[in-house]
């Protein structure tokens, strides 16, 4: 049970959060300008690194804020950022 530090509510158990996948995947400002391949990349393709991974989490059972965190996928070391 990870202890995740919500930037607003403080440390809470993992069960209060939902996972939002990779962070820093920006919604394209003009989807129509993208090729099928580029759009497919945005929708479907994500990294799956071993080690530090920037992720989005949302404090579902608490303040419902989304935040960015860097989780080490090997050790589960967690660094939260708002």
């Amino acid at each position: 049970m990870l202890l995740i530090r919500c930037p607003w509510c403080g440390p809470r158990n993992e069960v209060e959060f939902s996972y939002g996948g990779a962070a820093d995947v920006v919604y394209p400002p003009d989807p129509d300008a993208l090729s099928d391949a580029e759009w497919g990349e945005y929708v479907f393709v994500r990294d799956n690194p071993r080690g530090p991974f920037a992720e989005r989490w949302v404090h579902t059972a608490g303040c419902r804020r989304w935040f960015r965190a860097v989780r080490n996928t090997v050790t589960h070391e967690f660094r939260e950022e708002s």
Binding site: W8, C9, G10, V15, A61, C63, R64
Partner: protein
């Protein structure tokens, strides 16, 4: 302002443990706003606004709690305070009911289902949190040092939570 057509989610439920009871029909108004002209409580704290309790729910979200029937007055108060500022004021009084759990066994009772640290050095009177109690999402606040806690829970989950509390308090009385 209540009427005899109103029925709380836990009407008819007998609480076996004497230190658990329902506080039905409390007025609750949800406020979401960026900047507000009056001071509002910070994270995990309860403040006051014109005699009402204000519970912090999130960085731009508060719950203003008053006595039964007070919601229209609270809405007016908030709208007036907002003026032209963008903010969301929504009456959610019937969305949740309130359970009071108090006395020497309150902390141990809640600890059976709430993963928060409720030790007095960490969570005391004037503190609040949105968290889980058993399998229900709740707003939990400590009211006094008895300790008395208020558990704000959605009406649909209230019968479940009442049953859970009846079970969790079984060993204490």
């Amino acid at each position: 302002m209540t009427d005899d057509l109103m029925r709380s989610p836990l009407a008819g439920v007998t609480f076996t443990a004497p230190f658990v009871r329902e506080l039905p029909f409390l007025a609750m108004v949800n406020l979401r706003v960026g900047t507000f002209p009056h001071p509002l409580p910070g994270p995990n704290r309860v403040g006051t606004l014109d005699g009402r309790d204000v519970l912090w729910l999130g960085p731009d979200e508060w719950l203003v709690v008053g006595p039964p029937g007070d919601a229209p007055a609270i809405e007016t108060l908030l709208h007036q305070a907002l003026g032209d500022t963008h903010g969301s004021v929504v009456d959610v009084s019937a969305n949740r009911t309130t359970l009071a759990v108090s006395g020497p066994h309150a902390r141990d009772t809640l600890a059976k289902g709430c993963p928060l640290d409720l030790h007095p050095s960490v969570f005391g009177p004037g503190h609040c949190a949105q968290t889980l109690l058993a399998r229900a999402q709740v707003v939990l606040r400590q009211v006094d040092a008895d300790p008395t806690y208020h558990v704000l829970v959605r009406g649909s989950f209230a019968p479940y939570l009442a049953e859970w509390l009846a079970d969790a308090t079984r060993e204490f009385w």
